[in-house]
């Protein structure tokens, strides 16, 4: 059997933090697999950026909200086909609303993608990494999971769940030399935050000691560090990358 190529799988790699992680991890030498929900264009663009700087990347349609799709994806594209060095559980979505007005679907959808989907990906990756006896899993959480955030009962619950999952997975998988950590971004300039009005942005800025919003690259650098040999003794941690917004 020929040697399998060391690969980093980034879910939700079409834009924002996912794209930045994919591009940065390609520079670390990994083959990159990114997933997208429905529109291939932006994910292909991510791959193009990587390939233009000499990396290797492929994109795959994968509905993180669907368990069977995740099982099939790992079986058909990952298992015995690549060496899964890194999983970045990044895919996420928001459907904001005050909790008293939050609909059943609004709650379920956000939990399904952000928490259940991340768990199923982690579960599938863990099975493969256990056999490899090595692996790095990074869950993208959120500062809002630590601090709370009005209008995001669903999102903050899901992201807080991800932090609990990170710690349990870190303990269970440690004997197989698999580390599991969470990165909790603060206010990052992405499409997800671009929709907020100036008043809200100013309010957040006043809460950030470093007096600027973060970039997707700030998160990507932290993720890359957690996949590096130098981070081999770090597991079960939540790294805040938030300009001091939450300590």
């Amino acid at each position: 059997m020929s040697e399998l190529i060391k690969t980093a799988l980034v879910t939700g790699g079409s834009r924002g933090i996912g794209r930045a992680c994919a591009v940065r991890l390609a520079r670390s030498g990994y083959q990159i697999y990114v997933t997208y929900v429905s529109k291939p264009g932006p994910a292909l663009e991510t791959c193009k950026i990587i390939e233009e700087s000499g990396g290797t990347a492929s994109s795959f349609a994968l509905d993180i909200g669907d368990h069977q799709s995740i099982v099939d994806f790992f079986k058909e594209k990952i298992k015995d086909r690549v060496f899964l060095s890194v999983l970045v559980n990044n895919a996420g979505r928001t459907m904001d609303g005050l909790l008293v007005r939050m609909g059943h679907e609004q709650w379920d959808q956000v939990l399904r993608v952000n928490l259940s989907g991340s768990f199923f990906c982690l579960q599938q990756a863990a099975k493969i990494m256990m056999r490899q006896k090595t692996g790095r899993i990074i869950n993208i959480a959120s500062v809002t999971a630590q601090s709370g955030n009005p209008g995001q009962a669903n999102y903050t619950s899901a992201k807080a769940g991800l932090i609990g999952l990170t710690k349990t997975a870190a303990i269970e998988l440690a004997p197989r030399n698999i580390t599991v950590n969470a990165v909790a971004p603060g206010f990052i300039e992405t499409d997800m935050t671009a929709g907020l009005n100036q008043e809200v942005r100013d309010k957040y800025l006043s809460m950030i000691p470093l007096k600027r919003f973060g970039s997707a690259e700030d998160i990507a650098e932290t993720v890359a560090f957690l996949t590096s040999p130098g981070a081999s003794y770090i597991t079960g941690q939540v790294l805040g990358v938030n300009g001091g917004m939450y300590m």
Binding site: K127, M130, R131, E172, P175, R176
Partner: protein
């Protein structure tokens, strides 16, 4: 290769031990030094190899190499 040989081969591979250590009556934990993750991996490997489903309750009853062989024979 017989089913029995195949099971033993999986045990050897998963636990990283030599073939002559693996007897039918060997207990995975006490005799062969398996921990809980090893057991989980063993069960997963057997499920895959023999295309059977071994739920957690059943898995807890599979304590020896012979018990694994018996279970697979009965459920294949």
């Amino acid at each position: 290769m017989s089913l029995e040989q195949k099971v033993k081969e999986i045990v050897v591979e998963q636990l990283g031990i030599s073939a002559d250590e693996v007897k039918n009556e060997s207990k995975f934990v006490e005799d062969l030094g398996a921990d809980s993750l090893d057991l989980t991996e063993l069960i997963m490997a057997m499920e895959e190899e023999f295309d059977v489903e071994i739920d957690d309750e059943k898995a807890q009853e599979i304590l020896t190499v012979q018990a694994a062989i018996d279970f697979i024979k009965a459920n294949q």
